[in-house]
Amino acid sequence: MSSPQSFDPKAYWSATLKLLATTMIIWFIVSFGAGILFRDTLDGMMHIGGYPLGFWFAQQGSIFIFVGLIFWYAKRMDKIDREHDVHED
C-alpha cells in the first residue's frame, strides 16, 4: 500500500460507509418499501398510465432505479476516492 502521508483511512472508510448506507436505504425503499410493504397504499394512491403505483414499483420502477443507483454510487465513490487520494492511476 503506497498511501500518501495525508491519507486518513478512518475518514475514507467513514465516507464510504456513509455513501453505502444512503445507497442501501434507497435500495430498500424502492423495492421492499414501495414494492412490498406499502404497495397497497401506493396502488390506491395513484396510477402511472395503467400501472397502479405500487405494482409499477414492484415490476418496473425498482429495477430502473437500481440501475441508476449503481451508476450514481460508482460516481460518488470515484469522487470519494479522489478526495482521499486513493484512486487508481
Binding site: 500500500m1 472508510w13 445507497t23 435500495w27 398510465g49 415490476q59 429495477i63 451508476f71 460508482a74 482521499h84
Partner: protein
C-alpha cells in the same frame, strides 16, 4: 421453408458463431483460464455477466411464472435484479481489490484457514451443480421441442458445445461467447415482445405497452377484469403473504450477490473502479429483459384467455356456450404443444368446447354461474405423468408466445436459439467456477501445492470436462428436485457464502472460527429446512403441510433466516475464540481502498 428447417438454420448459425469465438479466444495461461487475463472492459464484462446471469429459467420460465402469479411474480423481478446493488456496494469492488482468482480463495485467505476454504468449496460445488443441472435440462428441452430430437441428442450437442469453449477457452472463451449469447438471447426475447405489445396496445415499447391502453380501457384493468371474471385472483394483487414475499425477495437478492459464478465475473475487469461500473452495466443489460418479462407474461396470459374464450376480447358474456372455443377448431400451436404435454385439453363436460377458468375460485357467485352454464371443471391444463393437471405449464408462455400471437416463423426459430443461448451461457459460467474450485482451490491451494502452472491449467481443463459430463448426466437423469433447484441454489448462497464474504470485508475482527461455524450453520439450517418442506418432491415422502412453515416463510425465502443465523453464530463464536491476527486485519484494511489494485494475481 418449413419451421423445423428454419430453426435448424438459425440455431446452427448461432452455434457456428460461438465456435468461431471459442477458437479465437483460446486460453494460454491460468490467468486467462480463470479471469480472462484480467483486462475485460467493464461494458463487455457487463454484457457477459448478463448472459452468465440470465439462465434458462430467466429466459424460458420467468415470464410464465409472472403470467400466472401476477403481482406475486414481482419477487423474481426485484430479487434477481436488486442483488446487483448488493454486489456493487458490498462485494464486487472489494473482492476485485483483493485480486485473486476464486471465491473460496478469498475466504481461505481472509479467514487464514484451509478448512474455511474447503467449506467454501463445498458450498460452491453444491450451489453450482444444482444450478447447472437445470441449465442442461433446459438445453435438452429446447432441442427436443423445437427440433423434435430426443432430449438425449439435444443434451449431447449442448454438452459438446460447452465442452468446446469452456474447456478450451476457460474464462476468456466464455467471456466472449457470452457476449455473443447475450446478443442472441436479448434479440430473441425482445422481438416477440415488441410485436405483441404492438398488437395489444399499439405501443412499440413493451414496458410502456403494459401500462398502455387497449381500446378504451387500460390493458392492466382489462386483464384484471378478464381474470377475475374467470374466477382467478386479480392480476395486480397477489396471493402470497407479505412476509413471504419480503423474505423470498431478500433471499433472491442476497443469493444473487453470493453466487460464485456471478462474483468471479468481476475479477476479470482491470480496476476497482471498473468493478463498480461493471455491476451497473450488467444490470442495464439484465434490466432490458427483466422489465420486458412482465409485459410478455401479462400479454401472453391475456392472449391465452382471449384464444379460448371469444367473449374476453368482445366483452360479451363469458358463460355463453358459443363463447368457448370449439375443441376441434383450437389453433395449431395448441395441437403442436400438446405433444410436449405443456398444454392439454380434457373435455370434462363433453360439450366439445374448451372452458378455461379457476374451478377453485373463492367467489361463490362465480362458481354458481359456471355451474349454471354447464361447466364441469377447468378443461385447460398440462400433462404430468400422463395425467391431466389443471395448470398450464409456465414455460409455454415464452416458448409458444410467438405462435399464440401469430408471429412469423423466423421469430419462433429465434426463440429456440435464444433459449439455448441463455442455458449454455449460464452452464458455461457455472462449469468454470466448479473447475477452478477444483484445480485452483483444492489442488493448487490444498492438496498439490507444487504443481506447475501448465499442470494446473491442464487440471482445470480436465475438471471442466468432468463437470460437463456430470452436468450432462444430471440433465439427462434429473433427480426429482430439478424444478426446486432455484430455491436450493439461492437459499444456500444467501445463507452461506454471502454473509461470510460480507463479514470478511466489513468486519476487521471476524475470525476463523466465527466464519466457519457461521457458514456451516447457515448451510445446514437452510438445507434442512428446504429438504424437510420439499421432502415430497425430494424423497418421495408425505408432504409436510405449508401451515407448519416457520413464521410463514416458504422454503424459497428461508435463506434469509439462514443468513441471520450465520451472522449471529459468527459473532457469538468470534467473542469466544482467539481474535483475528494483526496481519489479517491489515489485509482487510488493504482491500478497502482501491489504489494498487493491479490485475488479478495467483499469488
Amino acid at each position: 421453408m418449413d419451421l423445423k428447417t428454419l430453426t435448424i438454420i438459425v440455431v446452427g448459425l448461432s452455434f457456428a458463431l460461438y465456435i468461431g469465438i471459442a477458437i479465437w479466444a483460446r486460453a494460454g495461461t491460468t490467468k486467462e483460464f480463470y479471469v480472462a487475463g484480467g483486462g475485460v472492459h467493464p461494458i463487455v464484462n457487463g454484457m457477459a455477466t448478463g448472459a452468465d446471469w440470465m439462465s434458462a429459467a430467466s429466459f424460458i420460465s420467468m415470464a410464465g411464472l409472472i403470467a400466472f402469479l401476477g403481482y406475486g411474480g414481482s419477487v423474481y423481478l426485484m430479487g434477481w435484479t436488486g442483488g446487483y446493488v448488493l454486489l456493487a456496494v458490498l462485494l464486487a469492488p472489494y473482492l476485485r481489490k483483493f485480486g485473486k482468482f476464486t471465491v473460496p480463495e478469498f475466504i481461505g485467505d481472509r479467514y487464514y484457514s484451509q478448512t474455511a476454504r474447503i467449506v467454501a468449496v463445498i458450498c460452491l460445488i453444491f450451489i453450482s451443480f444444482t444450478y447447472v443441472a437445470g441449465q442442461m435440462r433446459g438445453v435438452g428441452i429446447v432441442f427436443s421441442r423445437f427440433l423434435e430430437v430426443e432430449i438425449t441428442t439435444g443434451l449431447i450437442i449442448g454438452m459438446g458445445l460447452v465442452f468446446f469453449y469452456a474447456v478450451l477457452g476457460g474464462m476468456k472463451g466464455i467471456t466472449y461467447t457470452q457476449v455473443a449469447q447475450y446478443c442472441v438471447l436479448i434479440f430473441a426475447y425482445t422481438i416477440p415482445a415488441v410485436f405483441i405489445s404492438l398488437q395489444i396496445s399499439g405501443n412499440v415499447v413493451p414496458q410502456l405497452g403494459l401500462g398502455g391502453q387497449m381500446g378504451d380501457m387500460y390493458f392492466l384493468d382489462k386483464l384484471n377484469k378478464t381474470v377475475t371474471d374467470l374466477g382467478f385472483s386479480a392480476y395486480t394483487t397477489g396471493s402470497k403473504s407479505m412476509i413471504d414475499v419480503f423474505c423470498i425477495t431478500l433471499a433472491l437478492m442476497a443469493g444473487t450477490a453470493g453466487l460464485p459464478h456471478v462474483i468471479v465475473r468481476f475479477f476479470t475487469v482491470p480496476k476497482v473502479h471498473d468493478a463498480r461500473l461493471s455491476a451497473g452495466w450488467a444490470l442495464v443489460f439484465i434490466a432490458i429483459l427483466y422489465t420486458t418479462a412482465p409485459a410478455v407474461g401479462a400479454m401472453a396470459r391475456y392472449n391465452l384467455h382471449a384464444t379460448v374464450n371469444s367473449s374476453v376480447a368482445s366483452g360479451g358474456d363469458m358463460f355463453a356456450p358459443e363463447a368457448s372455443i370449439q375443441g376441434e377448431s383450437r389453433p395449431d400451436w395448441m395441437k403442436r404443444w400438446e405433444k410436449t404435454g405443456l398444454i392439454m385439453w380434457e373435455d370434462k363436460n363433453g360439450d366439445g368446447r374448451i372452458q378455461y377458468y379457476n374451478e377453485k375460485s373463492k367467489n361463490a357467485d362465480f362458481l354458481a354461474k359456471a355451474e349454471a352454464a354447464g361447466w364441469k371443471g377447468n378443461e385447460l391444463g398440462s400433462k404430468k405423468a400422463d395425467k391431466f393437471v389443471g395448470t398450464v405449464d409456465n414455460d409455454i408462455m415464452v416458448l409458444a408466445n410467438p405462435e399464440i400471437a401469430g408471429l412469423p416463423d423466423w421469430v419462433i426459430a429465434l426463440i429456440a436459439a435464444g433459449g439455448i443461448a441463455a442455458a449454455l451461457s449460464t452452464a458455461a459460467g457455472l462449469l468454470l467456477v466448479i473447475s477452478s474450485a477444483i484445480s485452483h482451490d483444492l489442488m493448487k491451494g490444498v492438496f498439490a501445492k507444487n504443481i506447475s502452472e501448465k499442470t494446473e491449467l491442464m487440471a482445470g481443463r480436465v475438471a471442466a470436462a468432468f463437470a460437463v459430463a456430470i452436468a450432462g448426466y444430471l440433465g439427462y437423469n434429473p433427480p426429482g428436485f430439478v424444478a426446486q433447484v432455484v430455491a436450493f441454489a439461492f437459499g444456500l448462497a444467501c445463507a452461506s457464502l454471502f454473509p461470510t464474504i460480507v463479514l470478511g470485508i466489513f468486519s476487521k475482527t471476524m475470525n476463523r472460527a466465527g466464519a466457519i461455524y457461521g457458514m456451516l450453520t447457515g448451510l445446514i439450517f437452510t438445507l434442512t429446512y428446504i429438504v424437510y418442506f420439499k421432502r415430497d418432491v425430494l424423497l418421495g415422502m408425505e408432504k409436510v403441510p405449508d401451515s407448519q412453515w416457520l413464521f410463514g416463510i416458504s422454503p424459497e425465502g428461508i435463506g434469509v433466516i439462514g443468513m441471520l443465523l450465520n451472522f449471529i453464530v459468527a459473532f457469538i463464536v468470534m467473542k469466544m475464540t482467539a481474535p483475528c491476527p494483526d496481519h489479517i486485519q491489515h489485509l482487510v484494511e488493504g482491500i478497502r481502498y482501491p489504489r494498487g489494485s493491479g490485475t488479478a494475481q495467483s499469488h
